[in-house]
Symmetry: C2
Subunit: 298 residues, 2 copies
């Protein structure tokens, strides 16, 4: 892999994930009710950077694992991420009409089918991961699926969503509440992607611990830069000045720390992420991932 640039490596992972997702759609075409299948894959095929599945494949490969073992887990995580976006966009949640430049799922298929499309993707994610675990009889795949269930699940991402709604309605939101939300809503899924990738390669406890710390810092970094992008009008991040005000009334890292304070905290999180994996070999893709997050645009 060291002959490929970061962009080439990412493009290769994206191709692998999207080919596998397309294969899953073809296999399910005779099984899932046609309209439901269409609604589910409308959002799967809506693009996005596939950050989570790329991380799963990259970590597996970094540790000498088989990409074939990691692919069902990578696709499962992408389906789980996608279901969460569909449900998050619903009128009773964030009520977003657009997602990635296209009408959101419920604007195209209606609210009821969008609820079911999310339910279908969440269920299919576990079906795909369980099939891989059962057919391979490889306990590493089972361990990765269990990791995904824990981080994406009720005590992970879903708790983050629930706490986020509480935060929005809170009279005196605190920094602790904000950190809880993003620990679970954002960082848990990135941790799932990184750690599940490591588990498919049979990583030992020491490596897993380093990767968990790396993921937590990456989650914080990702969220702060997200808030900065909101505050600076989706321009590139570092070196730019405030483009528009942060969303009125919502607590973010920018309203909590100010623009400059948030930038310093993002840089500190990036350094801590690098330090967490400083002992790992072949970690160039992971290092590049957090460095580029610091200067990302949308």
């Amino acid at each position: 892999m060291d002959r490929l640039s970061y962009e080439e490596a990412s493009a290769r992972y994206v191709r692998l994930v999207e080919a596998e997702l397309a294969a899953i759609r073809r296999r399910e075409a005779g099984r899932i009710h046609p309209r439901l299948l269409e609604a589910m894959f409308y959002s799967i095929e809506g693009g996005g950077k596939r950050i989570r599945p790329c991380l799963t494949l990259a970590v597996c490969e970094m540790l000498g694992g088989s990409l074939q073992n990691a692919l069902p887990i990578a696709c499962g995580l992408e389906m789980i991420h996608t279901y969460s976006l569909i449900h998050d966009d619903l009128p009773c949640m964030d009520d977003d009409d657009m997602r990635r430049g296209r009408p959101s799922n419920h604007k195209v298929f209606g609210e009821a089918e969008a609820v079911l499309a999310g339910d279908g993707l969440l269920s299919l994610a576990f079906e795909v991961m369980l099939r891989a675990a059962a057919e391979s009889k490889d306990p590493r795949i089972l361990a990765a699926a269990y990791e995904a269930a824990q981080r994406a699940g009720a005590a992970g991402m879903v708790s983050g969503q629930s706490a986020d709604m509480e935060l929005e309605g809170a009279v005196n939101p605190t920094g602790d509440m904000l950190r809880y939300v993003h620990r679970h809503k954002t960082a848990d899924m990135l941790e799932a992607a990184v750690v599940a990738g490591a588990l498919t390669a049979g990583a030992d406890a020491g490596v897993l611990e380093k990767l968990r710390r790396y993921s937590a810092e990456m989650g914080l970094l990702f969220q702060i830069t997200d808030d900065l992008l909101d505050a600076t009008g989706d321009q590139e991040l570092m070196g730019k000045t405030l483009g528009k005000d942060a969303k009125q009334g919502k607590l973010t890292y920018v309203t909590l720390l100010g623009i400059d304070g948030a930038k310093r905290e993002a840089e500190a999180a990036e350094r801590r992420a690098e330090e967490a994996i400083s002992g790992l070999e072949n970690a160039d893709y992971l290092l590049q991932t957090v460095r580029r997050m610091l200067t990302r645009s949308r």
Copy 2:
């Protein structure tokens, strides 16, 4: 088990399932966001007859398996069934204000939290089943979890829900559409319960095949009697006359076959269910289950 009556055996299974669900709630109390946990278990603790988990435990025991192996699968299926009811009751779906004599989930917690409570229960179901499979290293539990994922999933129960919405909007609904809906919306979850129970006991292919045929007939029987209960005003079934009209405009087995035709079809399905498992020993609980379904009330 043969010393217990059907009622005593059912009560014992319900106690085991409800004790395990309570243990899951206690374990999750420090992990899941408090309001989300409350919303999830409001519906879990809302009662119901626990038909699916009782079937899972009964089949496992009938085949000489360990109830400890079957309990996480039984609880997973009850959580999946409960999530489907929460989402089904949402205003954008069936818009039901009441469920089992209490306000439905979204009437108590709001729509957004109800969506998340369903997502949380579906995720926790797989987390509980995957934990049992990973910690036991027992391939029979993994096989049962995979069976649950297939029947409850996108090609199973969720396809049934999607087709049901299509059926309600159809200008010329057909008997084939009705059968597709109930095959997936109702029978698939009953098949999951019965077959997953058998898998936890390591049942062979011949036994699984008999149990699949039994479950399909039970699903048909369950749905016809449901339609008859709607049509006869929730009175006891056989021997009663029409209490109130079937729901206007909705195709059911009663509108399709008439009251007497539906009763005959229910009796025929019950006979076929018995025949499907005629070669199995210790099948008294399964035989009683379908016999009582024929005369059930709500």
